[in-house]
Symmetry: C2
């Protein structure tokens, strides 16, 4: 049944990808997972939700060079990588588990890679111009205008670093995705319609409810 | 009028992008330009069509290093770059001219970059898995199976090299395009439907005729 499709959404910070995921799940009548995955992973493992969130943010500084530079100064760094790997493994288990339950929309967390063997997956990348991302960060996410550009750039660097470390792919490269949509061109609700059109083409079925 | 949209299609070799362009123009009832541009550029300039075609293919070997290495051995190389630049300029003029005539679909030739100031433009990138591109090259373009993989890879290197030389962008990077569709995921006629859905979202109009 096509509605059992699993749509993974990777997105640039400020592109509106999370909202698109939520609207898409509503339109398709399927489950939506974003921060819910963190809660589930926390419950399963006993690690706090904050640890999962920081693991994604910290990956950018966890290069080998950084680790070498810090050894001796901060022994914690030596334990940092294994803990992050454990957090990633727990989160991967949770993603595989929710995918077993049926069709859903999953935002971020390398779900496209974790579920790469699952033929039900349809992988989407959402992006936008830097100007539009800064605007959305300020107007919708409450980021201060002064540091908004840095926040947008840094967050995407972190996402890229996290993705590139844990997967075989390059974050944001078309090769990882079935469809890439710019919300600068199509808007947020427009992007939802485009994804549905692409899913219909992919599955050969009318998916609108 | 939304039907005055200019859709530029960049595409990986073997992805079916040219067919998509043709079908899209038919569905939208607009003009289609691919090799027609070469004919027009040839008529305008007096250069042969073959020269325009070879200019695209040769760019990959026109690195500075190659030019330096060849100076003395082949004086023609010294004149090669200016001729290519001239061919590019003629072709750019032709693209701007056909765009002035109204809505159309243009395949390849850096049209997205040449028309970057034109607000009517909607830029699409079509891609597919390497396996599907090889298969299409053999079955539809008549490429010999033995060298098909090399042909696919080399042609895309040429396209990337040509694009990256003449534009400010990186060929195949989402940042240049409003939409990127995989024909491995959506099929050729499916990709046409996805582009139309994206154009509808972009222009806020029903475009089907």
């Amino acid at each position: 049944m096509p509605r059992s499709s699993i749509i993974t959404i990777s997105r640039q910070y400020g592109s509106g990808g999370r909202t698109i995921g939520r609207l898409l799940a509503e339109k398709l009548g399927t489950d939506f997972y974003d921060k819910e995955l963190v809660t589930l992973a926390s419950e399963k493992s006993g690690y706090t939700e904050g640890m999962f969130e920081r693991a994604t943010e910290r990956r950018v500084t966890n290069s080998l060079l950084y680790s070498i530079a810090m050894v001796g100064n901060s022994p914690a760094v030596m334990y940092d990588v294994p803990v992050n790997e454990k957090l990633f493994a727990v989160q991967s288990d949770v993603i595989r588990k929710v995918a077993q339950n049926g069709g859903c929309v999953i935002v971020g967390r390398c779900a496209d890679y974790i579920l790469r063997e699952d033929p039900r997956c349809f992988n989407v990348f959402i992006y936008a111009s830097i100007e539009d991302r800064i605007k959305r960060a300020v107007e919708e996410y409450g980021v201060e205008a002064k540091g908004a550009k840095d926040k947008v750039i840094k967050t995407d660097k972190q996402r890229a670093s996290y993705y590139n470390f844990y997967t075989d792919g390059k974050w944001g490269s078309t090769a990882n995705y079935d469809l890439c949509v710019s919300t600068s061109a199509c808007g947020v609700s427009g992007a939802v319609d485009v994804i549905i059109a692409a899913l219909e083409a992919h599955t050969g079925t009318d998916l609108r409810i």
